[in-house]
Amino acid sequence: MKSGSNLEKVLEAGHFAFTGELGPPRGTNAEEVRKKAQFLKGNVDSVNITDNQTAVVRMSSWAASLILISEGLEPNFQMVCRDRNRLAMQSDILGAYAHGIKNMLCLSGDHQKFGDHPQGLGVFDIDSMQLINMVKEMRDEGKFLGGADIEDPPKIFIGAASNPFAEPVDFRVHRLAKKIAAGADFIQTQCIYNMDRFRIFMKQAVDMGLTEKCYILAGVTPMKSVGMARYMANSVPGMDVPDSLIKRLKDAGKGKIAEEGIKFALEQIEEFKEMEGVAGVHLMAIEWEHKVPEIAERAGVLPRPTF
C-alpha cells in the first residue's frame, strides 16, 4: 500500500470504485459542508474536495477536507497550480497529511480569468505534471522538490485528471502516459458524454499497458437540463457533448429531462463496469449532491466495501 487510503484499498482489492465530489462554500459555513457530506456518506469511497474551482474563491480545499474527515468520510484533496508556489504547495501537503488526508488530485486549475478575481496573478510555478511528480518524490523518496529530506514523509495516494476529448485528441493518451510516468496512481477523467470517443481512448490506454500501472475512474456528470447540456457543449472548453445526447434530453419532454439525464448516466456506468481498463466511476453531481444516494442505488454500486 502506498497510502492506505480507503480509495486505494477499494481499488487494490479489485472493487469497482465509486467516488463523489463536493464543492466547498463561498463562506465559512461548515454546516453546509456537513449537510452535503451526509448525501455522500456510505455511497462513495472518497469525495473530491474542489480547490477554488472555476477560479472562484471558496473555503480552502484542505479545510473542507478536514470537516469531511470529522464526518467520517474520506476526502480526495484537490490542489491546483494556479494559486500557490512550490513552497506553499508542499507545506499544505505536509499539513493536510498530518491531519489525515491521504488522497490528492493534482490539477493545473482553471485560468483565473474565468473567476471572481480575474486581475489576480496566476502562479503556475509548477504545472500539474510537475506537481504529480513532486508528491511522488515526497512520498517515495522522502525528498522535497528542493532536494532536502522530509521527516516522516506524507504517504499520499496520487490522483490526476485526464481529458480524453480536448484537442489535440491524438495526444491525449500520451499525456495520460506522461502523468502515470510522473507518478499518478489513479486518474479521474473529464465528464464523459461522447462514449464513442471514450471507448477509443480506453482501448489506446489498454493497448499501451497504462491500465496496468494506474487506476482509471471514468468521469460522470448527469445532465439536469437541456440548458446545462447546451452550456457544457458550447461554453465549457474541452467538453465534448454529442448533439444526439442533447436531442435525447430534449425529446424526453418537459418535467422528464433530469430523469433522462440520470438514465443516460446509469447506462454509462453500466458500460464502464464492463469496459476493459476502467476501475471505477467518479460521479460529479454538481450542486446535485442530494441525488447521489439515488444514483448510487440505481447504479447498483451499493453497499460500498468497508475495510
Partner: protein
C-alpha cells in the same frame, strides 16, 4: 523588440502637475519602432500637453529630445547639458531606459510616459504580439520554436491542459492554444518525442535582478 504603449493622457498630465518646465525624452530604438516613444511620439505628446496647459491656464514649458537609446550611457550623455534647465523629465523609453535616465540624474524627478508592455514581434503596422518573457532558460529547441512560458496562458511545461477548445486556449477562442500549435508543429517535423518526455520543475532565473557579463568581457580572475 521591447513593445510599449503610451500612458493615458490624463495620467501623464496628473504626474506632471506642478512642474513648469519639462523635458520630454524619446528613445530611438524599440519604442520608436513600435510607434510609442520615438521622435514623432514625443512631438505629438508635447503638442497635447501644450494645448492642455494653455486650456487649463497652467502652461508648461516643454522641451523635446530623442536619443538613440536611453538604455545606453553613450547616448544619454547628450542630455547632460539640457537637464538642469528643467524641473522634471518625462521619458518615453521602456522601463529600462527610464531607470537608466533616473540613475544618471538622481536629483531630477523622472516620469514614465509609456507602459512597457512586452517583448514581441511586428505583425503589421502598429500591431505587435508578445513572444518572450525572458525567463532565462529557453526551451524553444524542445517546443518547435513556440514558447510555452509566454504563449500558454498557464505557462505550462507539460501541456496541453484539458482546457483546449478546438485548438484555442480556454481563456479566449481567438487565442490559439500554444500546446496545440507545439503539438502540430512537432508532429509535422516528426519530433513528437520531445514532448512525450517529462519536463521537470523549472529553475526560475527571473526571480532576482539579473546581471550578465558576456564571457569574453569578464575580468581574467572571473573567467
Amino acid at each position: 523588440m521591447i513593445v510599449a504603449k503610451r500612458k493615458p493622457f490624463e495620467e501623464i498630465k496628473e504626474m506632471l502637475k506642478g512642474y513648469k518646465k519639462v523635458l520630454n525624452v524619446g528613445c530611438g530604438t524599440c519604442v520608436a519602432v513600435c510607434l510609442a516613444g520615438g521622435e514623432k511620439e514625443v512631438d505629438v505628446l508635447n503638442i497635447e500637453l501644450d494645448m492642455a496647459g494653455k486650456l487649463d491656464e497652467n502652461p508648461i514649458e516643454l522641451g523635446a529630445m530623442t536619443i538613440e537609446r536611453q538604455c545606453d550611457r553613450e547616448y544619454l550623455e547628450a542630455l547632460d547639458p539640457l537637464v538642469d534647465d528643467y524641473d522634471a523629465i518625462l521619458s518615453m523609453a521602456c522601463g529600462a531606459g527610464i531607470q537608466f535616465l533616473a540613475e544618471r540624474y538622481p536629483h531630477k524627478p523622472i516620469f514614465p510616459a509609456v507602459d512597457t508592455t512586452f517583448i514581441g514581434v511586428n505583425q503589421g503596422v502598429g500591431w505587435y504580439e508578445e513572444r518572450c518573457r525572458s525567463c532565462g532558460s529557453c526551451v524553444l529547441g524542445l517546443t518547435g520554436g513556440i514558447c510555452p512560458v509566454t504563449m500558454c496562458a498557464k505557462g505550462l511545461y507539460n501541456g496541453p491542459c484539458g482546457g483546449t477548445n478546438k485548438g484555442s486556449c480556454e481563456i479566449d477562442k481567438d487565442q490559439p492554444c500554444a500546446w496545440y500549435l507545439i503539438y502540430e508543429r512537432l508532429s509535422r517535423q516528426g519530433r513528437l518525442d520531445n514532448i512525450l518526455k517529462f519536463s521537470p520543475a523549472t529553475d526560475w532565473q527571473n526571480q532576482i535582478p539579473r546581471t550578465l557579463i558576456q564571457p569574453g568581457y569578464k575580468k581574467s580572475e572571473e573567467v
